[in-house]
């Protein structure tokens, strides 16, 4: 594992992968996302298996308002872009920019989460309790697990921002920011499927 001898304090092109720790973290995190893929697939499968089981309770077409969900999707997509900007700032050595873009990402995430909470609240008052039907349970569990991921991502990135607000970019924190961004993209990927499979297909057939 001979390290390329570079001056340790000059900005490398990929600071997140400049150290062995960074490379380990980077790779381990990607693998974790591979596992998460199966985790969400299991939840999607369960939802798809049970979505017909509304048992006289409200079903997708009684509940979903596509326009709100469309806006949520846009917000999350945009937050994906802002986190990309954060990474580009990082690679440019612009730590302030990194923090700023990460903050924007968090804000967008919060907006998304707020809307999701509103959505659940609304469905609940339209008669879709968690125990109403198998459809209800599997819907809330799938979308809720995604929501929990968003919440965790927000907490994680916020912690990073606060912890490193004054430290500048270092070889230790670059991989941390980078993996957080990967996580955020992954959340977005999952949402794309929730949007298509749960909401659009729920309304469309």
């Amino acid at each position: 594992m001979a390290e390329k001898t570079v001056d340790q304090h000059t900005l490398p092109p990929n600071p997140e992968k400049a150290t062995l720790e960074g490379r380990n973290k980077f790779m381990g995190f990607w693998f974790f996302l591979g596992g998460e893929t199966v985790l969400f697939a299991s939840l999607f499968g369960t939802y798809l298996g049970l979505r017909g089981g509304t048992m006289n309770g409200p079903g997708p077409s009684d509940l979903f308002h596509l326009d709100l969900v469309f806006i949520m999707t846009m917000i999350l997509l945009t937050s994906s872009l802002t986190s990309v900007f954060a990474v580009i700032s990082m690679k440019k050595g612009n730590f302030k920019g990194l923090l700023a873009w990460m903050s924007v990402t968090v804000l967008l995430g919060l907006a998304f989460l707020g809307m999701e909470i509103y959505e659940f609240y609304d469905y609940y008052h339209k008669g879709l309790g968690y125990s109403t039907s198998a459809f209800a349970s599997s819907f809330y569990t799938l979308v809720g697990t995604h929501g929990a991921h968003v919440a965790f991502g927000i907490g994680w990135i916020t912690t990073l921002i606060i912890r490193y607000r004054k430290s500048g970019l270092t070889l230790t924190n670059a991989p941390k920011f980078y993996t957080a961004v990967l996580y955020w993209h992954f959340i977005d990927v999952v949402w794309v499927f929730i949007f298509s499979v749960v909401y659009l297909m729920g309304i469309g057939g």
Binding site: M1, E3, Q8, H9, T10, L11, P12, P13, P15, K17, T19, L20, E21, M27, W30, G34, G35, E36, T37, V38, A41, S42, F44, G45, T46, L48, G49, L66, F70, T73, M74, L77, S80, L81, V84, I88, K91, K92, G93, F95, S167, G168, L169, T170, T172, A174, L182, H185, D188, V189, V192, F193, F195, S196, V197, L200, M201, I203, G204, G205
Partner: protein, 116 residues
């Protein structure tokens, strides 16, 4: 592992090389374009369901296709899965996707409601 003597918590200084800068600029453009494209895809999906003009038999596969395209964009443009040295990462992600597909198909089809 020969990193001793360095302090990993010291801030990195300097600016990226010209080459890196050029690459970043190019990347930025690529990402903006794919972002716009993703927005477009999402809107298409939305419209194909929201407007009653399009029959569900077409709309459903269509939106699923759009979702897949978006995911590939996310993975390769935003998350740089295609960069060199990501061989194992690719293997793990696509294995995960394969098993994910199997899982979803099974839970839709093989839960005893219909016999095959």
């Amino acid at each position: 592992m020969g990193q001793h003597g360095m302090d990993p918590s010291a801030p990195l200084t300097g600016t990226p090389s010209k080459k890196t800068k050029r690459k970043l600029k190019y990347e930025m453009r690529k990402q903006l374009i794919s972002f716009v494209f993703m927005i477009f895809l999402t809107s298409m999906a939305f419209i194909s369901i929201a407007s009653d003009a399009i029959p569900a038999t077409f709309a459903i596969p269509f939106i699923l296709l759009l979702a897949v395209i978006q995911v590939v964009l996310q993975l390769y443009v935003f998350m740089h899965l295609n960069e060199r040295g990501n061989g194992w990462t690719n293997i793990m992600i696509w294995t995960g996707v394969l098993i994910a597909i199997l899982t979803v198909a099974t839970l839709m089809l093989l839960i005893g409601v219909r016999k095959w």
